[in-house]
């Protein structure tokens, strides 16, 4: 195609086209933007120092804080998914026009836990009808909820991010908290739970704790901290943990000594276990089903939507790029930034 264009002419055309898109619109207010940068930096720096220095005094706290700051890559923010302000306006949302007003129900038999599109609330829906159940958590301005996880015991774990600092929490499906909620005192995110064992990411490592948050084990790469660790998921039998790092998915035995024992499954995102012990995950070209033993991935689908996340429980659940949750091939009247379903039985 385009053989009649010289390479140079084609490049010039592409340059001009890119510049047109890149520079459309008003000229940015550089002075105002710089003030915003300073505000963001101050907010994050302060939060990180407070967390890193907890329990330490004065200069010692500052030293620890500096080490935390210095050891980081220009990795993506812990934030994932669409940012506030990029959501579709409600008036152009076909779902908004057709979906009935939500009916509030009790804790449903088939719970579907969602982080609302603005990431300010954690809510339960009925996975069959989409009806809205209890709201489990609401956070304030400047805070957002990420990484919802629903355990077999009906406990919801989540990450709250405020000013670049992440902590994890837990709440039961009826909105009450239990005595056994993890009270991890360090910066932590991406929690998952199986049989009383909680896994989360902290300090560039995967940490395993008992259900009260008492540390049990650490899993790190031999070459040091990895700030990209994410998407932890216990296998149905609890013997293995799937996770992602630097754009690839891995599986590691939960009793491994380090992540050196992990099996590299390839460039995949958002791994989720099925009852048969295989992993659903997202490859660049779409969803795949991975045989973990053979390290073989086969295309899965095609699904009639642009899949952003997948999970199985009593059915196949998917989140599409527009933020709508699907149950098998039915679009539920539920909008979400992320979602969680119970682990497969």
């Amino acid at each position: 195609m385009n053989d009649h264009w010289s390479t140079e002419a084609r490049e010039a055309r592409v340059r001009a086209a890119l510049r047109g898109v890149a520079e459309a619109g008003p000229v940015p207010d550089v002075g105002g933007a710089w003030e915003e940068v300073r505000r963001r930096a101050a907010e994050r720096g302060l939060r990180r120092l407070l967390v890193a220095g907890a329990g330490l005094a004065g200069a010692a706290a500052l030293v620890v804080g500096a080490v935390v700051l210095a050891g980081e890559d220009p990795a993506e923010d812990v934030a994932v998914g669409p940012a506030a302000g990029t959501e579709r306006p409600a008036t152009t949302d076909p779902m908004a026009a057709t979906a009935p007003p939500p009916t509030i129900v009790g804790v449903p038999e088939h719970p579907l836990v969602v982080v609302t599109p603005d990431r300010r609330a954690l809510a339960v829906h009925d996975a069959v009808t989409g009806a809205r159940g209890p709201t489990l958590l609401e956070v304030g301005p400047g805070e957002r909820i990420e990484d919802p996880h629903l355990s077999a015991g009906g406990r919801v774990l989540y990450t709250v991010v405020r000013g670049g600092t992440a902590t994890i929490g837990g709440v039961l499906l009826d909105g009450t908290t239990s005595a056994a909620d993890p009270s991890v005192r360090e910066e932590a995110r991406s929690p998952a739970e199986h049989g009383g064992l909680v896994a989360y990411v902290s300090g560039g490592q995967i940490r395993l704790a008992d259900e009260r948050g008492e540390p049990v084990a650490e899993l790190a790469w031999p070459d040091g901290p990895d700030r990209t660790l994410d998407d932890l998921a216990f296998s149905p039998d609890g013997t293995r943990l799937a996770f992602t790092s630097r754009g690839r998915a891995y599986v590691v035995p939960t009793d491994a000594a380090s992540l050196a024992e992990a099996t590299d499954l390839g460039p995949l995102a958002a791994p989720s276990w099925r009852a048969d012990g295989r992993l659903l995950a997202l490859a660049a070209a779409g969803p795949v089903l991975v045989d973990v033993e053979a390290v073989e991935a086969a295309p899965f689908g095609p699904l009639p939507i642009d899949v952003a996340a997948l999970a199985t429980a009593d059915a196949l659940y998917a989140l599409d790029a527009g933020g709508t949750v699907w149950r098998d091939d039915v679009a539920l009247p539920v909008r979400a930034a992320e979602f969680a379903v119970p682990p497969p039985a």
Partner: protein, 169 residues
């Protein structure tokens, strides 16, 4: 203590000078990687806020910023990083709110749509090579991939984008 404070001030002014020189251009780069201008500004501001905190550990701030911008833009789009074929099927029902900042300029909208249909790596390679003006080696370094991969991504991205531009003629 005074010396420490002085050092901190110098770092901030270094970063500020870099910000004043690079902000508009990097917003343009980010705009090619995300769906609208506001998101692009936020991505670049976040990258600079991180740079301000980590100045001492960053040896090459210009390259570091580009990596941070690309990674943050990809983080934003991560949950939609999937089968573009499926997206095209679903598009009539799931039209994204992208490109509102481009107004009624149909050519720009078409270019933006064609860019968005590219895999993230191809998009990043084209933006870094042909908007940012980086060499293949510099692009490879920013993205943490080989020069050969950059060549491949650029070749494929160019073919796709040129085909879309051809339709506009």
């Amino acid at each position: 203590m005074a010396a420490v404070r002085r050092h901190a001030v110098d770092e901030a002014s270094d970063v500020e000078a870099l910000f004043r020189a690079e902000y508009r251009h990097l917003v343009g780069l980010a705009r090619l990687l995300v769906d609208d201008r506001a998101a692009a500004e936020e991505v670049v501001q976040d990258a600079f806020a991180d740079l301000l905190r980590r100045r001492r550990s960053v040896a090459a701030p210009a390259a570091w910023l580009r990596t941070a911008v690309v990674n943050r833009a990809r983080g934003r789009l991560r949950r939609r990083a999937t089968a573009r074929r499926h997206l095209r099927v679903a598009e009539p029902d799931h039209a994204p709110p992208a490109d509102a900042d481009l107004g009624g300029d149909d050519d720009r909208r078409a270019v933006a749509a064609a860019l968005r249909a590219l895999p993230a790596r191809q998009r990043a390679c084209l933006a870094l090579r042909f908007y940012d003006g980086l060499s293949e080696a510099e692009t490879a370094e920013v993205l943490g991939i080989s020069t050969g991969s950059v060549k491949t991504h650029v070749h494929r991205g160019m073919a796709a984008l040129a085909a879309a531009l051809e339709d506009l003629r």
